[in-house]
């Protein structure tokens, strides 16, 4: 018993797969992305158009100024004065040695280079999380390197290195040196102050709190002024440090207070059980702090310390107010050269200086973010 209607292919039953249709254009690919991220609403669309207009208005002229219309090499400022629509990189190129070394004697500049290379190598050792024996690196960086840098830069009769007066120092290496002194001295001082602030002894605590709050409450410039004008008055006649050393003292004392607050944050975040466990093992205060608490607390605050260091590095520009010739001061000084006088010189110089500081600070902040992620990974459950 067959029904003809059943044998005939039923029109509503699929016998072959339908051809695959492309996804709707607004749900995948570039258009969908644009719709979700650029034109999700009328307001968003208007903002996109405005933002694009802003970019078009700013970026092509800036790129043109910095590259196509720029003067890359010239013996003096005449060419730059003739082409005022572009940067004058020739000025930067010719002043580069001044920017790097100030008036440091030409024949001795290898000493600055060597110091910078050793310092850079040590910093990489110290900051690279998987580097072997970082403790040795830290010891070298915080103790041996400052002594070596002092001998190399200043000179010493023992090593047959001629003395170079600090009056001649200037440029990038002075900026780096100031930052280095700040970090090398502020970290131990800051740890001491942080421990003092958390101490149960009221006098120690009060002294630390007063110091930290005092320094954090005043501008860096006034600390520099104080180091420059008041330090010589407070010391016996003839004991006053070199004019170059005074701002360094001010920088270290200033940075220590900020470092102390960072370290205190780390100490506070350590579980009470860690203290109790260390005490139960019979460790005394120094061992408890050195072996149990500080290693954990300092690792936790590495991002904060790096952040502090970025601020410190930017603040080193202020030391020129007391006569130190840091990098920015050499740039400003170079503007006064009448050979290069012209309207494009100042923007070029500032652009170069901004690039220099940006590269350093941005690299540090990236490192800080990476460390934060790394630390967060271990602590997250």
């Amino acid at each position: 018993m067959t029904d003809a209607r059943l044998d005939a292919p039923l029109s509503y039953v699929r016998v072959a797969p339908e051809p695959v249709l492309p996804a709707p254009i607004f749900s995948r690919g570039a258009l969908a992305w644009m719709r979700a991220n650029l034109f999700s609403s009328w307001l968003s669309g208007a903002l996109t158009v405005l933002s694009l207009a802003l970019c078009l208005w700013l970026i092509p002229p800036l790129i043109g100024w910095a590259t196509f219309h720029a003067i890359w090499s010239a013996p003096d400022g005449a060419l730059c004065r003739a082409h005022q629509d572009g940067a004058c990189w020739a000025f930067v190129a010719q002043k580069m040695n001044y920017f790097r070394y100030g008036s440091y004697p030409q024949t001795e500049r290898w000493r600055v280079d060597l110091t910078e290379i050793i310092g850079a190598a040590l910093i990489v050792w110290l900051l690279w999380p998987r580097a072997p024996r970082r403790a040795i690196g830290a010891g070298l960086f915080f103790i041996a390197f400052p002594i070596l840098a002092f001998i190399l830069l200043r000179g010493s009769d023992w090593f047959a290195l001629p003395l170079v007066d600090t009056v001649l120092w200037g440029g990038v290496f002075v900026s780096l040196l100031t930052a280095l002194v700040g970090i090398v001295f502020s970290l131990p001082l800051g740890i001491l102050l942080a421990l003092g602030r958390r101490s149960r002894l009221p006098v120690v605590k009060l002294a630390s709190v007063i110091y930290i709050e005092f320094v954090r409450g005043v501008p860096f410039i006034t600390v520099l002024f104080m180091a420059n004008f008041m330090l010589p008055l407070f010391l016996p006649d003839g004991w006053a440090p070199d004019r170059f050393l005074r701002p360094l003292v001010g920088t270290a004392l200033f940075a220590a207070a900020y470092m102390a607050e960072e370290v205190r944050g780390g100490l506070q975040s350590i579980n009470k059980g860690q203290f109790e466990g260390a005490m139960a093992l019979g460790l005394n205060f120094r061992r408890m702090m050195g072996l149990v608490i500080l290693p954990q607390a300092l690792t936790l605050v590495i991002p904060g310390i790096v952040n502090n260091f970025i601020g410190l590095f930017k603040d080193t520009t202020l030391v020129s107010i007391v006569g130190m010739l840091d990098f920015l001061a050499t740039v400003e000084n170079a503007f006064k050269d009448t050979v290069w006088n012209g309207p494009t010189i100042a923007p070029t110089g500032y652009a170069f200086a901004a690039l220099f500081y940006f590269v350093f600070c941005f690299a540090m902040s990236r490192y800080q973010a990476a460390m934060e992620r790394r630390l967060g990974r271990g602590r997250r459950r």
Partner: protein, 392 residues
């Protein structure tokens, strides 16, 4: 325990309490010794160099001019007067910068969180540039490379002949208050009081009945509408004097000197970068469950932000925001680099150089900043105590 402590004198050394006293006594002795030595050295050195000891210089004639003063001052005024000039200038710069940096920073912070990709990128680039270059560099750039390089008064950049910008500064219209202008001020005051009262009443009603009132609308009407009505009713007593070119210079209007313009602009743009990050971090720190719960209750996106996210974010934003305000106050001391007469430039600069009284001048200068910092810290602590989350 007590017996063993008494048993030998040597174990006294190992009593943590006694050792604590010992350490503290040592510290006190060291600090006092340091202070006495420093004081004695300062006394000897100052005598040897003929530096004045007391604060007698305060009432002496200063003998130098200050380019911009908010209070009457001439070169015949005293050093004390110069101090007040510097302090008022610092306060003015800080107040203007805070007032401008807050909205800019919040706007950039919100733009960073915007779902609009390109807007978020622009905000990110802005924040990274501002935070990763020194403030001093930015100030010098705005002052030397931008404002000083502008054309002279005859070729001023104009904004519909209301605002002029040239190498002598920024010229904005000067409001002139005729008789009856005081009524507008009174109306504004009344509007603010009325708005606050209405807000209080609306909150009370919401707590009792759950009905919401259009507080923002009414407040705007009271604070803007009321003065506007009075302005018209009193016969338009406020007019604006525009700057006009006469000869080689602009006359009339308010002249903002390039130093002040560069300082405020630099401080505002720099600090806004930091405020933006604070705002962003604050909003992101409010957990996602909060806005999900708000959506589940039926609140739309705007109300979720207003009633759930922002109140919680503000608690996280306020402390670092306050420290940014303090940073503005402290960073305004960078005025000394571009020659704007703030407290540090006038007092710790010129007055210190003229009188040589380094210790006194620096003590006063640092004291001022310290008092401001401590006062703000105290206010912040009070706020924190009030707004801390009530936990079970």
């Amino acid at each position: 325990m007590a017996e063993t402590a008494r048993s030998s004198a040597g174990s006294l050394l190992y009593d943590p309490r006694i050792r604590g006293y010992g350490y503290q006594a040592l510290l006190v002795a060291a600090l006092i010794g340091l202070a006495l030595t420093a004081g004695y050295n300062a006394y000897v050195n100052m005598q040897a160099r003929g530096i004045p000891m007391g604060f007698g210089f305060w009432d002496q004639t200063a003998g130098f001019d200050i380019s911009q003063t908010l209070i009457p001052y001439s070169s015949l005024s005293t050093y004390g007067r110069a101090f007040w000039v510097g302090l008022t200038n610092t306060a003015m710069v800080a107040a203007i910068s805070i007032a401008l940096a807050t909205p800019l920073g919040f706007a950039v912070g919100v733009a960073r969180l915007s779902p609009n990709w390109i807007l978020a990128r622009i905000a990110l680039v802005y924040v990274e540039i501002m935070r990763n270059t020194p403030l001093l560099l930015q100030l010098l750039f705005w002052y030397n490379a931008v404002l000083k390089a502008l054309p002279g008064p005859r070729q001023s950049i104009q904004f519909s002949s209301l605002v002029f910008l040239n190498n002598r500064g920024l010229y904005i219209p000067r409001p002139q208050f005729d008789a009856g202008a005081g009524w507008i001020g009174a109306a504004l005051l009344a509007g603010i009081v009325g708005a606050l009262a209405y807000r209080l009443q609306a909150r009370r009603r919401q707590a009792l009945t759950g009905q919401r009132a259009p507080v923002a609308l009414v407040a705007a009407a009271l604070c803007i509408g009321l003065p506007a009505i009075v302005y018209l009713a009193a016969g338009r007593p406020v007019s604006f004097e525009l700057a006009q070119l006469s000869g080689f210079n602009l006359r009339g209007g308010v002249q903002v000197p390039p130093e002040l313009a560069a300082l405020v602009f630099g401080l505002v743009t720099y600090t806004a970068g930091f405020i933006a990050e604070i705002v962003r971090a604050g909003v992101l720190a409010v957990s996602g469950g909060q806005s999900e719960a708000a959506s589940a209750l039926g609140l739309h996106r705007g109300l979720t932000m207003k009633l759930v996210v922002i109140p919680q974010a503000m608690r996280l934003i306020t402390p670092p925001l306050t420290s940014q305000y303090l940073n503005i106050v402290k960073n305004s001391s960078l005025a000394v680099f571009i020659g704007y007469p703030d407290l540090v430039q006038v007092f710790a600069g010129t007055v210190l150089n003229q009188t040589q009284a380094a210790v006194q001048v620096m003590a006063i200068t640092m004291g001022v900043y310290l008092v401001i910092s401590l006062a703000v810290a105290l206010a912040l602590n009070l706020y924190n105590a009030r707004s801390v989350m009530k936990e079970r």
